[in-house]
């Protein structure tokens, strides 16, 4: 079920996760979000080399149920995207925190990550939405 939120990650209220690694961060969508969406069939990935502000729409994710926006979790330049998702978007459902990662961002302001939710707070947030 949806209660799987690793402690070493930070989360947004719009259901993205980030793993900060020095001046960079890897991001994806949470297990809760991928469960809510259902089977993912297509992703429009962010543009590599482009700068996005925090909460700015930087992609799209389409499941058998609906199309949703992907929001940039932290401000910065997208330096890589997970091209494996083009052929196997289901990785987002299978391994949301692993092979289902979406983008790697060079952070403009690493301290921004402090404002994101910790696992426990995010878990609480998802419960309230039920």
């Amino acid at each position: 079920m949806a209660g799987d939120f690793p402690d070493d990650l930070r989360y947004t209220e719009s259901d993205e996760w980030v793993r900060v690694e020095g001046g960079e961060a890897v991001s994806g969508i949470s297990a809760f979000a991928s469960e809510q969406l259902g089977d993912v069939v297509y992703l429009q990935l962010p543009e590599v080399g482009k700068r996005y502000g925090r909460t700015e729409v930087f992609g799209e994710i389409e499941s058998v149920k609906a199309v949703s926006d992907l929001f940039c979790p932290l401000s910065g330049e997208v330096i890589a995207v997970n091209e494996e998702l083009d052929a196997t978007p289901g990785l987002v459902n299978e391994e949301p925190y692993g092979r289902g990662w979406i983008a790697r961002i060079r952070l403009e302001n690493p301290a921004e990550a402090e404002s994101l939710l910790e696992a426990a707070a995010y878990a609480q947030n998802t419960t309230e939405r039920h």
Binding site: Q36, G38, D39, V41, Y42, E62, V64, K65, A66, P89, G90, R129, H130
Partner: protein, 491 residues
């Protein structure tokens, strides 16, 4: 058993025609058609006899499900019965056999009908003028927003670049706004499923071109704050757009025009019993208040000295939005329906549609969670969240309903209800049918607890079982290809 394709049934030499010898001189096809348009490989059309073809399509028609074969509670779509008298009327030669290029003097009846239909729809919606051209609801939205844009520009307010729509809105609303070049601003619903007025207040500004609202909403809830919203938007210089998808709930009882709306689209294929979905083209007339009349598409239907005519004299028109004058056959059907029902009949339609929906909700809300508390209008939204605990999802419930002989409700919409099941029975179903549907839904709720695998494996009674939606979306196989013949690489 699934039905083989015509291509699979083909056998060389079979045919369904026999032509007499040609009695004019034959010329090589290359003399008649320019070379770039000539195909270089055989078309590989299937070779079949007439009964082969007739049986194929008859078999397919038996696999079909329609409002003529059963209950079809597809929320937001108003799948009501389409009376057969509509077909009798539209098949009169005077409607069926006319041509859009005929001289006006010879099609006075058709123009008269369109003129009267405009008046009737204006009266029902509380509008001042109407165009019958748009071919469906979303096309009506586009027409409406183009008029709103033209209006603002004509007043030197072309800077207005935002359209506001609630998070419960039909997906077509944001799509239309975006297509016209507006930025979409989403306003949240409050805990009652109504527009959050405080948030709306903070979003309305001198950049607001319009607020698009469906009332009652896709949650089947009437937003009684609509007059406040109209005032707020109008004070900021914006206009009010009414998505008429749910007009079936309020006919003869309340009018969008009286709620402050400036533009309304009406779905004849929902509210006014013209065929729907695969059954026929739609029709989405758009009504406007006087301030927008100069921007209506042309031609309008005019009347002068007891004669009807196509009026192209419109200074600020947004132009034509549809070839000829709209889906004319649908206009005749809708006109037939309105005349047959009369004003008392139409308001009874709305009362019965609301009654049916509330009856269903009150008989199901002990076993299924409600998206938002009722009472509701023409439809209501349940949530499958309780069933989900036993591993049964809303999609499974929908598929299982097929085994019980019903068309499933709309699922996973509106987006703001988790595991949504959106049910709209319409007024054309009797209590026996509604009760049979209730029995099926209650039985499925029991199955979800006791034998969930029965539900997650549904449908079990159809010629083809559960389709692999991911594969269908990822690897669509839309075209039959011959096995041995090389692709005619003409591209």
């Amino acid at each position: 058993m699934s039905e083989p394709l015509l291509f699979d049934r083909s056998s060389p030499g079979r045919k369904g025609y026999s032509l007499p010898a040609c009695d004019v001189p034959e010329r090589p096809v290359a003399d008649l058609i320019p070379a770039p348009y000539l195909r270089r490989t055989a078309a590989e059309l299937p070779q079949l006899s007439e009964p082969d073809v007739v049986r194929h399509f008859t078999h397919l028609s038996k696999l079909n499900y329609s409002i003529d074969s059963g209950f079809y509670p597809l929320g937001s779509c108003t799948m009501k019965y389409n009376p057969k008298v509509n077909e009798v009327t539209v098949n009169q030669p005077g409607w069926r056999s006319i041509h859009p290029y005929q001289p006006e003097a010879t099609v006075q009846g058709a123009l008269h009908l369109m003129y009267d239909l405009q008046d009737l729809l204006c009266e029902i919606a509380g509008m001042d003028a109407m165009t019958l051209q748009p071919a469906a609801g979303a096309h009506g939205e586009l027409t409406g927003l183009l008029m709103i844009q033209a209006y603002h520009r004509s007043r030197g307010e072309g800077h207005r670049n935002e359209v506001i729509a609630p998070d419960s809105s039909h997906g077509t609303n944001p799509a239309t706004a975006s297509m016209v070049g507006y930025t979409l601003i989403t306003v949240r619903s409050d805990e009652r499923g109504r527009v959050d007025l405080n948030e709306l207040k903070s979003l309305v500004s001198d950049r607001t071109a319009a607020l698009m609202l469906t009332n009652p909403s896709t949650l089947g809830l009437f937003d009684e704050q609509v007059l406040d919203m109209s005032e707020m938007v109008h004070e900021a210089g914006g206009l009010m757009y009414y998505d008429g998808a749910n007009l079936n709930a309020i006919m003869g009882i309340a009018r969008p025009g009286d709620m402050g709306f400036d533009v309304v689209h009406i779905n004849l294929h929902k509210t006014f019993t013209t065929p729907h979905g695969g059954g026929g083209p739609g029709a989405g007339p758009v009504g406007v208040k006087q301030i927008l009349e100069p921007f209506l598409p042309m031609p309008a239907i005019g009347r002068r000295d007891e004669q009807y005519f196509l009026d192209y004299a419109r200074d600020h028109t947004i132009g034509k939005v549809r070839s000829f004058y709209g889906n004319f056959g649908m206009l005749v059907r809708a006109y037939t329906y309105i005349r047959r029902m009369g004003s008392d009949g139409l308001s009874q339609v709305s009362r019965d549609a609301v009654l049916s929906a509330n009856y269903l909700r009150s008989r199901l809300n002990d076993l299924y969670d409600e998206g938002y508390p009722g009472p509701n209008m023409q439809e209501f939204v349940l949530s499958g969240r309780r069933q989900r605990k036993s591993g049964v999802r809303t999609m499974d419930i929908a598929k299982r309903l097929i085994d019980y002989g019903f068309h499933p409700p709309t699922v996973y919409f509106p987006l703001i209800v988790d595991e949504a099941l959106m049910i709209e029975p319409t007024e054309t179903e009797n209590k026996d049918t509604l009760d049979a549907f209730v029995d099926a839904m209650r039985s499925i709720a029991r199955e979800a607890e006791e034998t969930p695998e029965l539900v997650t494996g549904a449908p079990l009674t159809t010629s083809i079982g559960r389709l692999d939606e991911v594969r269908a979306a990822r690897f669509p196989d839309l075209r039959w290809r011959p096995e041995k013949v090389e692709d005619a690489a003409t591209g």
